[in-house]
């Protein structure tokens, strides 16, 4: 995922765009055992060419996310920092 880390302001959203040739599934937390930041799951499942926004991040914190279809693949995980 590019960028692997992004910083936004409280009250903003993040748009995930799938520019790959395969589907991806964006989920909050470092892995399925540690779900976090429910705003992220609104981006969710994305087919190639599809894009979708997360929910509004209302509190300052750091949100890790991963690709549910590629668990454990470092290139398909990242972090959103809300300030």
């Amino acid at each position: 995922m590019t960028p692997l880390e992004i910083t936004i302001a409280v009250g903003q959203r993040v748009t995930f765009v799938n520019n790959d040739v395969r589907a991806h599934d964006v989920v909050g937390g470092v892995d399925p055992a540690h779900p976090d930041c429910p705003e992220i799951i609104q981006a969710g499942f994305l087919t190639p060419g599809q894009q979708r926004e997360t929910g509004i991040f209302t509190t300052a914190r750091a949100c890790d996310y991963h690709d549910h279809t590629a668990l454990g693949v470092p290139a398909f995980s990242g972090r959103i920092i809300i300030r």
Binding site: R22, D25, D31, A33, Q50
Partner: protein
């Protein structure tokens, strides 16, 4: 892309074989007291277009397989047969596979494949069978380094009802995906058309290295009961599969049932198959229903496939032990209509041109991501055979 076409063309023109017609019922072994060999080839080379909501896909590609056998009859009641089946799909399809909307099964780069049909391994089958008749009864013992586990109907590549169709069924991994299983030992008994088979095999799907020969422990089991009489063939089967999906720590149970009808000759024939498959997993039970048929009238072949398959595409990721949850299911419908026409029948095989169109019924929970996709294929197809007709159509 050009390389893939060239390889496919070379394969098509070098499979020197006589005219083929895959209408054989299962489990009929050729009988000869001298060693007999046979080679059968089937090659599709064509254009695959996939219309999607956001990004369309198209590909020039080739699906292909080559079956070989060496057999001998001992006395009047015993038969030994060695079989090998090979595919150049690791070279004629992209590494990720053939684009096919809603297709699932196996992995690429460590992630489950979605919307792609994986390439088949270079070595699809390698092993042998020994069968012996005891009066009206028959016993068969089979051992494969890689081969078909005794579950499900014959794999789609061997089915007369699917022989004209280059596309794998969406239900492939619910019915016949264990046709490439690393390590299979099975025993079967047969009497008056009824047969009962039991097998031990490695239950996990092949790895992503399409060129190697996987070896692994026999950790899964299956049983298949079938009945064949004339054009009819019925089977019910079940399997306990040890961690069938790579990287997923959970086991599964597969249940299948099918009925097929195959009648005719090279000039006029009809073949159809109706099948049900269910994968019972910790994530839920996923069911698939399939009907497919092919009608041949001399040089013209008409084929169709109708499927209704429950997919868990929206939750297709892997789950560590302890965090499994019920997956959201999407019941997908697919209808394929196709036609092929023989254009040349030289002594070494039969060439046809053909094409098909597939439309899909998309459930509500996939509409936002998929819309109303459809696809078409146009292709050149070669079928050929030399030597003995193969009996290996499990």
């Amino acid at each position: 892309m050009i390389m893939r076409v060239v390889v496919a063309a070379v394969l098509a023109f070098t499979c020197c074989a006589a005219r083929a017609f895959a209408q054989d019922p299962p489990h009929q072994h050729p009988t000869s007291d001298t060693w007999q060999w046979g080679v059968e080839g089937n090659v599709f080379a064509g254009y695959n277009y996939q219309y999607r909501k956001f990004t369309d896909f198209d590909e020039v590609e080739s699906q292909n397989w080559l079956m070989t056998s060496l057999s001998k009859t001992f006395g009047t009641s015993s038969n030994l047969e060695f079989v090998g089946m090979f595919s150049l799909e690791p070279f004629t399809l992209r590494d990720i596979g053939s684009p096919q909307v809603f297709q699932t099964g196996e992995t690429f780069d460590g992630a489950p494949l979605i919307d792609y049909q994986h390439p088949h391994d270079l070595i699809m089958n390698l092993g042998g069978e020994f069968s012996r008749a005891f009066g009206a009864n028959g016993v068969t013992i089979a051992a494969y380094a890689v081969g078909p586990a005794p579950i499900g109907p014959p794999v789609f590549m061997h089915r007369p009802s699917a022989i004209e169709n280059p596309q794998a069924p969406l239900s492939h991994h619910y019915l016949d995906a264990t046709h490439i299983t690393p390590g299979v030992i099975s025993v079967g008994v047969e009497r008056s058309g009824f047969s009962l088979e039991a097998g031990a095999f490695h239950g996990q799907e092949p790895d992503e290295d399409r060129l190697d020969l996987d070896t692994a422990a026999l950790d899964s089991y299956s049983v298949r009961a079938s009945w064949a009489d004339g054009p009819w063939h019925l089977q019910v089967s079940g399997a306990d599969l040890e961690t069938p999906e790579r990287k997923s720590p959970y086991d599964a149970t597969r249940i299948t049932a099918s009925a097929s009808y195959t009648r005719g000759d090279e000039n006029r024939s009809i073949a159809w198959l109706a099948a049900f498959g269910q994968n019972r997993e910790v994530f839920g039970n996923l069911e698939a229903y399939l009907f497919e048929g092919t009608k041949r009238i001399r040089r013209h072949a008409f084929y169709t496939r109708i499927e209704s398959v429950a997919k868990d595409i929206l939750d297709a990721g892997f789950h560590p032990i302890g965090v499994a949850h019920t997956h959201r299911q999407s019941q997908i419908g697919a209808l394929t209509l196709g036609y092929s026409r023989d254009v040349a029948a030289p002594s070494f095989g039969r060439f046809a041109i053909g094409g098909d169109v597939t439309g899909y019924l998309v459930p509500e929970n996939l509409e936002e991501s998929y819309g109303l996709p459809w696809s078409f294929h146009v292709f050149l197809r070669y079928q050929g055979r030399v030597g003995a007709r193969l009996s290996h159509v499990h």
